[in-house]
Amino acid sequence: MNNHLHIHNLTKYYVKQLGWLKQQRICALDAISFTVKQGETIAVIGETGSGKSTLIKLIAGIETPHAGTITLNGLQLKPYDYASRCCHIRMIFQDGLASLDPQRTIGQQLLEPLWFNTRWTVTEQREYVLNTLQKVGLLPEHFDFYPHMLASGQLARVSIARAILLNPQVIVADEALGALDPSIRAQIINLLIDLKEEMGVTLVFASHSPEIVRHLADKILVLHHGKMIEFDTTTTLITNPQQSLTRSLLHTGNLTI
């Protein structure tokens, strides 16, 4: 399919209760439309409160849009249809420790998506999880570990393992790299680059670090107060941005060597 992930007119409001009957609508996303080709990396940038997280959540299906459609390979993804959506679109969460259940082992939590979405036997599922753990640079022993026993870098790897388990077509991430230490972050970036090459997956991520955006993204989407103000390739936006906001968001400082 040519237009792999197609987003049309996506709109989301948040309703704020001002009194008993009075409501105020706050527009988080205002009629966003764009198309992503297979295997591309899209970075979503913007100031705080510009709707980056909302866009990521809408694509992942955590929130439901008020208007607009998300189409993957010509098939429209309906809200609340988690059974088919979870096989195609997966999310990497920001905080590894908070997004994993502290009472169950890594293995149990990674088996869960397979348990619900495949008809494999238990041995096959276990084998597959062990393979995936190796793919993200963890050891088979980590299958029996609890989340608190792992360091932040290993938890990030577990989050990625959970995202790639079902061979998804799209992976979304919201600030997944922001909270990591530089040396760990570099390892995770390398892992993402490797996995993208191997699986040809589309990556849509939100970030406020211009360095990461410049390094990873093919295309950049700039949001401002819920509106899309620019969407173009990384090189175009770096060399010739149309908006001053884009320039200031992609400005990496004067620390040139």
Binding site: E47, T48, G49, D181, S209, N254
Partner: protein
């Protein structure tokens, strides 16, 4: 330039069930008056502990030893609590990483600011004092770049955005015109735009009042650009110190070199390719390696690295490594 804060061989050990753990091991720092010094360290490197040790927020389980911990030729470790508190209160201030945890959630911003100002000697009484307080608050908030002063003063910390809350804590730190400002990751959780605003404020204070600053960050990319000198610390050990330009252009320590490459500062590195990394992960405080703590992850490590390298001084810079990346001429 006189040295305002002189730290030699500072060691902080924590009492743990398995014995003492040196979370900060033989740290050196000389702050000159009026300079901006940046301390870069990954998580668990003891940078927050260092800040707390300088300001004297010490917990009973910490064992602090140092050859020198001097504030303007006065020994901070030999002082009693009252003297120390006087110096900390008058001359030092700290900005914390997360403003939401630093401000009291139950009090309005105006009340919290007036509490800070009330520490000044009481020159006024009654209504006059309230008016004077109000005027001082307005001045402080204007200086840090807040326009909507009435609305901010009447709101609770939860109602403010991160950037504004951090500006409030900058204003609080300024109320006394401190000589030294320690900022522990003041803008790490903020976006690019807010961060540059806060740094601009801080830099202006440095130029206007000659305030000495110790900025603590996790990452070279979120560093303040006006920094004059840079220290890198790893797992409680000092790796390299030097003037910013020199350290960035020709790093002496393998760790500095790796950090530069991992922070995308090497502009020759093409995008979408793999970054050079340090293998492994940051050691936890329960399992610290002996000798140079970078040893197990260092690309240049050899057998001798199980002995702690001495801090070598070459002109203005210092580094602790057996195999530095720059040539040391023999006569130095």
């Amino acid at each position: 330039m006189s040295i305002i804060l002189d730290i030699r061989n500072l060691t902080i050990a924590l009492e743990t069930p398995s014995g003492l753990t040196k979370v900060l091991d033989g740290f050196n720092l000389q702050l000159e008056e009026g300079e901006i010094h940046t301390l870069v360290g990954e998580s668990g490197s003891g940078k927050t502990l260092l800040a707390k040790a300088i300001l004297g927020f010490i917990q009973p389980k910490w064992r602090i030893t140092a050859d020198r911990l001097w504030w303007r030729q006065q020994d901070l470790l030999a002082m009693d609590t009252a003297q120390r508190r006087l110096i900390t209160g008058q001359d030092m201030a700290m900005i914390f990483q997360n403003p939401a945890s630093y401000l009291d959630p139950y009090l309005r911003i105006g009340r919290q600011l007036s509490e800070v100002i009330a520490r000044h000697p009481h020159r006024w009484r009654g209504a006059q004092r309230r008016r004077q307080h109000r005027q001082l608050i307005v001045e402080l908030l204007q200086r840090v770049g807040i326009d909507d002063i009435d609305a901010v003063c009447n709101s609770y910390p939860l109602q403010l955005s991160d950037g504004v809350a951090q500006k409030i804590s900058v204003a609080m730190a300024l109320a006394h015109r401190p000589k030294l400002l320690v900022a522990d990751e003041p803008a790490s959780a903020m976006g690019q735009y807010t961060r540059s605003q806060i740094y601009e404020q801080l830099f202006r204070l440095n130029t206007e009042y000659g305030m000495t600053m110790l900025m603590i960050t996790q990452d070279l990319t979120t560093m303040m650009q006006q920094t004059q000198r840079l220290s890198l610390i790893y797992s409680g050990q000092l790796m390299e110190v030097g003037p910013l330009k020199q350290v960035l252009t020709e790093p002496a320590h393998p760790y500095t070199d790796a950090m530069l490459k991992m922070s995308f500062l090497d502009s020759t590195h093409p995008p979408k390719t793999k970054l050079p990394t340090l293998p492994g992960s940051i050691p936890t405080s329960q399992s610290l390696p002996i000798g140079c703590r970078l040893g197990p992850r260092c690309p240049k490590a050899q057998r001798i690295c199980v002995q702690r390298p001495e801090l070598t001084t070459v002109q203005q810079r210092q580094f602790a490594c057996h195999f530095p990346l720059i040539e040391i001429s023999p006569h130095e």
